[in-house]
Point group: C2
Chain length 478, copies 2
């Protein structure tokens, strides 16, 4: 049966579109962090939605599961097939066209278009696509849609969902759903594109997206501040939102421990502040052409008022673009620096922003009591209530720490977050990594509705099986 499918797929897609060569396929069978490895009966790279439509019909005929993959830079194993070798790995990389409409401030992108290429294409028209993240050199538009990606600019511009105007999707039966007409108002029944955004390829395969662009940034101010605690950071955030809300582009926080780790890790890194602080916050304010001339003054007024109210202990405004980039570099290097520093278990959690400082205290207290030799480090997007919480393995941790103690730590963290109405996955998604945790912590009515939709839309269960949607109790996720 595999042979029959492979022959038909090869005939349909040609050499460019289908391969069974294991050297070619192998790099794509392990996620970039090396945590999941699977097998596939072949790899398809269709040229467009029409080819994919025909391919999906072939998969339906032969009962072949499909695992869609963009840049393979996800965090939860969502694009890695299982070990059975029954699935087809579906790469979107050939669907990579980008066309920018500067007047409408929109871009139409193939699913395989690389985020950084979209940034460049927008910039060439004096516009920008206001979503960015560490993996921008590999992450694809299709992947960003399917995972509803976040990043460091969500505070002002929202997550991927708020930037998507239209989608083209190949359905589990091969039908092509064209929702690309970029209408600003359309109340013809359910807004169908919403169900595909963030659904990790379990309901349909995104082949193209129309996204919203913003005016280019003409001027920015990047500020580093030192603070006493996270409550102070929250007060500073509210102050900036009140005083200069339309310009506040980012508000990132990190504790002294993360800060030190980055400074030590990064060759030639310079501390933005001479003084020492328990917490640090990185702020960015930005303005387009029309507001550019006054931005500097407005930021200085905003910070002076904050200083007067004692909302931070010390602050430095980057003197130029080089220094601004250096400030951001410190933030962006936290993850690799932390990875190099110590073994850790990572959590990408969110709660309502007002509750973030309190939640973090509760987590720290609980872990200090139950796992006294584990260090907690939390950094991330305070403005979105989204914290990346790393718990470091003790120096003498056992070899199987990752699969033992670390799991216990995570269970405790996720329980606290869920009990406070928070999310066990703020921006990384569920994939295969958090499937069991989702099942344990999610509202049963929500789980039930997810299953109902999945089973109705993909009754054969061929689209990205074993990801995102916990099966009904009693069935095994394979």
């Amino acid at each position: 049966m595999t042979e029959a499918f492979a022959n038909e797929a090869a005939a349909l897609l040609g050499d460019k579109g289908f391969t069974r060569d294991s050297d070619t396929i192998e790099p794509w069978l392990t996620d970039w962090r090396g945590r999941y490895t699977g097998k596939a009966l072949g790899m398809a790279s269709p040229a467009d939605a029409q080819e994919l439509s025909a391919l999906v019909k072939l998969c339906v005929k032969h009962g072949v599961p499909i695992v869609p993959q963009g840049g393979n830079s996800g965090m939860v194993g969502g694009a890695t097939p299982d070990k059975s070798g029954r699935a087809l790995l579906l790469s979107t990389r050939r669907m990579d066209v980008i066309s920018v409409d500067p007047e409408a401030r929109e871009a139409k992108c193939g699913a395989g278009a690389i985020l950084e290429h979209l940034h460049d294409a927008a910039e060439a028209k004096n516009l920008r696509f206001p979503l960015s993240l560490g993996g921008k050199g590999s992450a694809t538009i299709g992947g960003l849609v399917s995972t509803n990606a976040g990043g460091t600019q969500v505070l002002r511009h929202g997550v991927m969902r708020s930037l998507v105007l239209g989608l083209e999707v190949v359905m589990p039966d091969g039908a092509i759903l064209d929702l690309t007409s970029p209408l600003k108002k359309d109340n013809r029944g359910f807004d169908l594109k919403q169900i595909f955004i963030g659904s990790e390829g379990t309901l349909g395969i995104v082949t193209a997206a129309v996204v919203k662009l913003s005016p280019a940034i003409a001027e920015r101010r990047v500020v580093w501040t030192g603070l006493g605690d996270l409550h102070a950071a929250r007060r500073l955030l509210l102050h900036c939102e009140r005083e200069l809300g339309g310009a506040l582009e980012g508000f990132e926080v990190l504790p002294e421990s993360c800060y030190r780790t980055v400074i030590d890790y990064l060759p030639g890194a310079k501390p933005p502040l001479e003084s020492h602080h328990v917490w640090h916050a990185l702020l960015e304010f930005a303005a387009d052409q029309e507001q550019a001339a006054t931005l500097g003054d407005r930021v200085e007024r905003c910070l002076a008022a904050a200083m007067e109210e004692g909302l931070f202990d010390d602050a430095a405004i980057a003197a130029n673009e080089t220094q601004a980039e250096a400030f951001w570099q410190l933030r962006e290097m936290i993850a690799p620096a932390e990875r190099a520093h110590a073994r850790a278990v990572q959590h990408d959690i969110s709660v309502p922003p007002a509750d973030m400082p309190e939640t973090l205290s509760v987590i720290e207290d609980a872990l200090a009591q139950e796992f006294p030799d584990h260090e907690v480090r939390a950094f991330g997007h305070l403005g979105d209530g989204n914290i990346h919480l790393h718990v470091l393995a003790p120096a003498n941790a056992a070899d199987d720490w990752d699969f033992g103690k670390a799991k216990e730590v995570s269970a405790r963290v996720y329980r606290i977050v869920s009990d406070r109405g928070g999310s066990i996955s703020a921006e990384h998604g569920i994939g295969q990594d958090k499937l069991a945790t989702l099942e344990e912590t999610h509202d049963p009515a929500a789980l039930e509705l997810m299953r109902t939709i999945k089973e109705a839309v993909d009754p054969a269960g061929l689209l990205n099986p074993g990801k995102l949607v916990p099966l009904a109790r009693g069935e095994a996720n394979t």
Copy 2:
């Protein structure tokens, strides 16, 4: 069976929560424009989601269809039951609590909370809820969510969907789905609240919503301009978006014919401009406290540059708030003035904004040829690509014009709009009014997916039957 259900419902909800008194129920059985009248076996007004949950379970037990109703001010008969008398009319009016969190800039509202009351509650905290429409004195938050309402401020703030942070929903089996935790980032699988927004009560009954508030407007400038044609209006819009995009709050257009009708209709109305123009545009620019001081200058600069480029023929900036209100009054009175002026068939259509002028020409040409004695009047939200297109009955129109020629006119309009990738319902929804048109014009793959979701989520079909979702071919919508 009806008696048994009524007795159980009365016992469950008490006198305040359930009535079969025909005088009490009757006003709610006809939509406000008097176009649809239905019957109901009773009217329930549960106090909260828990009571509604128990009631829905009772409906399931007895097979009683449920027609949810908010302010009964919809445009498409979406809240009017059919004539069978089998359905229960479900009023959300008792769930009307509003609580504002000024720090988080959020409000939690019961489904029955009136839009105008939310405006007032936000204003009291120096905030605003940036969605408004003609029916604000009766429209409820639940209705606005269920219809994904638009209005005149969509250009800057988006439709209802973009303002909803969380929902509480009672499901077709009575389960309560609590999605009210207002997380800014949450990638735990499908964003379930999205399927209820705009689904007109066919998938679940919204009982509460958490919505986003904005800073209060501290300063605004309302401008009336006279233009040669709609292409000029489009160029002026693009100019304003480029020059002053962050402040552009509204951009409404109307032709001279609508303008004259309003001036004649409104006692004491004063023309904003002395000169005569083929088209008129009403612009609003607004700023919160931080940007207020400079708004006047910025608007004047923006208009001066537009004047220099010949983007309009004449313009008047409202000298004070009274005049600003008077300008808006002219816009808001178009619908009632037109209704008083002549019999007409109305269309609430949208296309990509760039295509609006061209689409309108095509429609006008087609109708001039095929219905030469019918006058076309188009006004509305140019910035959103959303035009309210009225086609006036000729003076000598037959009595059955509404059900004869008018239907032919509409079919022609909808066909043109659909062929150009537009929507047959930009903001009014589908309800029962446009159900057949949706089926005729919509992408079959999209219709199929709508049906699949409806049948999976509400397999007994008890939630608002005969609205929004065309049944599979062969089945009659009753």
